[in-house]
């Protein structure tokens, strides 16, 4: 009769019985169960070493990444703070420009980020002798010209502005051209003949074109050729002034020669 019993059913019941016995013994003999747990844990120690090592590695990597992220964030904060402090220090330390007989010293008071290469505002205006069209210089190089002027302020259009146009001459060859910007920090000398070979480093200066702008004010140096356009070969020019760090400028005093203001 026993042989006719379903072996799956019999073994299932026996296994259940063993399981219940084991459960009972785990409560009745906790010491025995603890000993079994310890022995089985010890037996698994070696096979589990790779997993433990991998886990440690993953945790260490995670910690490293988190720490690095935190340090980077902190570094960014410190850099910003440092920049702000340095800018404040420079503005404080920058001496109030002295007005020479022909030059009006002015401090840059505003430079919009979205018009970074187009214009700046300075703290000198009509009352100080600033007139529209007057050239502005930095480090002895022309950096723009006054386009609007108030009683105590003036707006200077930079040479890097796309609307800036200024007649210029290559000092070494006497070739004439027009200085123009592109609103992205570049300066070009336009309308130069393509057959002319300009050398890198040749000085560009202002040409005589008006009352407010005397000739011979240096603008910058030729840096390279552009692409042939409309039969002319534009020349890339680098300004002699540090256009990214304009804290003070000199505006040429043009007397009472006229000019509009706003």
């Amino acid at each position: 009769m026993v042989s006719k019993l379903n072996p799956i059913l019999v073994n299932t019941l026996l296994a259940f019985l063993c399981g219940l016995l084991l459960l009972w013994s785990s409560f009745a003999f906790p010491g025995l169960v603890r000993a079994m747990v310890d022995r089985w844990g010890a037996a698994l120690y070696l096979p589990e070493i790779p997993a433990l090592e991998l886990r440690t590695l993953v945790q260490a990597t995670g910690n490293w990444v988190m720490e690095r992220k935190g340090l980077q964030a902190r570094n960014g904060e410190l850099e910003l703070e440092n920049l702000a402090l340095r800018t404040a220090l420079q503005q404080t330390l920058a001496p109030e420009p002295q007005s020479a007989s022909e030059m009006i010293g002015a401090r840059v008071t505003l430079r919009y980020p979205d018009a970074w290469w187009k214009e700046i505002r300075v703290n000198r205006g009509i009352r100080h002798g600033v007139r529209v069209g007057a050239p502005a210089l930095s480090d002895g190089f022309i950096i723009g010209k006054v386009v609007r002027v108030g009683a105590d302020y003036a707006w200077i259009e930079l040479v890097t502005s796309s609307s800036f146009l200024l007649a210029a001459v290559v000092d070494d060859t006497w070739d004439l051209g027009v200085i123009n910007g592109d609103d992205r920090g570049n300066i070009w000398l336009l309308y130069t003949p393509p057959e002319k070979e300009f050398q890198r480093g040749m000085i560009i200066s202002t040409a005589l074109v008006g009352d407010y702008l005397p000739p011979g004010i240096p603008i910058g140096k030729i840096w390279g050729q552009g692409e042939l356009r409309d039969g002319f070969m534009p020349q890339k020019v680098v300004s002699g002034a540090h256009l990214t760090q304009l804290y003070t400028v000199q505006i040429l005093h043009t007397g009472d020669a006229g000019g509009s203001s706003d």
Binding site: P7, F16, G19, L22, L23, M36, V37, G41, L44, R55
Partner: protein, 156 residues
């Protein structure tokens, strides 16, 4: 049985990796169930599997639970239930979907009993339980796909 033993070790390996984070799915139980249904198995051999999964459950409890025997009992119950359902299903109906359903059901049953047996079945325990059941899905999908592939090869 070698494959199931390996599955036990893999499950243990993964549990070591994710200890205190989540519970690994019952890979050992799922692969044992897969082996049981994927090969023609005489009753005497199936009876050996019952003891095999029982031992696997007891060893799992000895490693990861304070009360040995619960997993062994649950594994045996799951295996017996699967055997019973599988044996009473006509050969034409024994497909991957049925396997996925009964193996998934067995896994869910085991998970629920373990969840209820935990000392503090709170929100964290519920989350652990849910994640374990979700992690079971890809394992079960893989085993079902293998079963379907093997079945299509056998029938062709």
């Amino acid at each position: 049985m070698i494959l199931s033993a390996l599955a036990w070790l893999i499950q243990d390996f993964l549990q070591v990796l994710v200890t205190s984070l989540i519970l690994t799915p019952e890979i050992f139980l799922l692969i044992s169930l897969y082996k049981l249904v994927s090969e023609p198995m005489p009753q005497r051999r199936a009876a050996k599997w019952i003891w095999f999964v029982f031992c696997g459950g007891v060893l799992w409890d000895l490693r990861w639970a304070s009360v040995p025997g619960v997993s062994g009992l649950l594994n045996v119950a799951a295996l017996a239930a699967v055997c019973w359902v599988w044996g009473r299903t006509p050969a034409g109906g024994r497909g991957a979907v049925l396997f996925a359903a009964i193996a998934g059901g067995a896994h869910l049953f085991s998970g629920v009993i373990h969840y209820l047996a935990w000392a503090s079945p709170g929100q964290a325990a519920m989350r652990t339980f849910a994640v374990q059941q979700l992690l079971m899905i890809p394992v079960l999908a893989l085993l079902s796909a293998i079963y379907a592939f093997k079945a299509s090869k056998t029938h062709v």
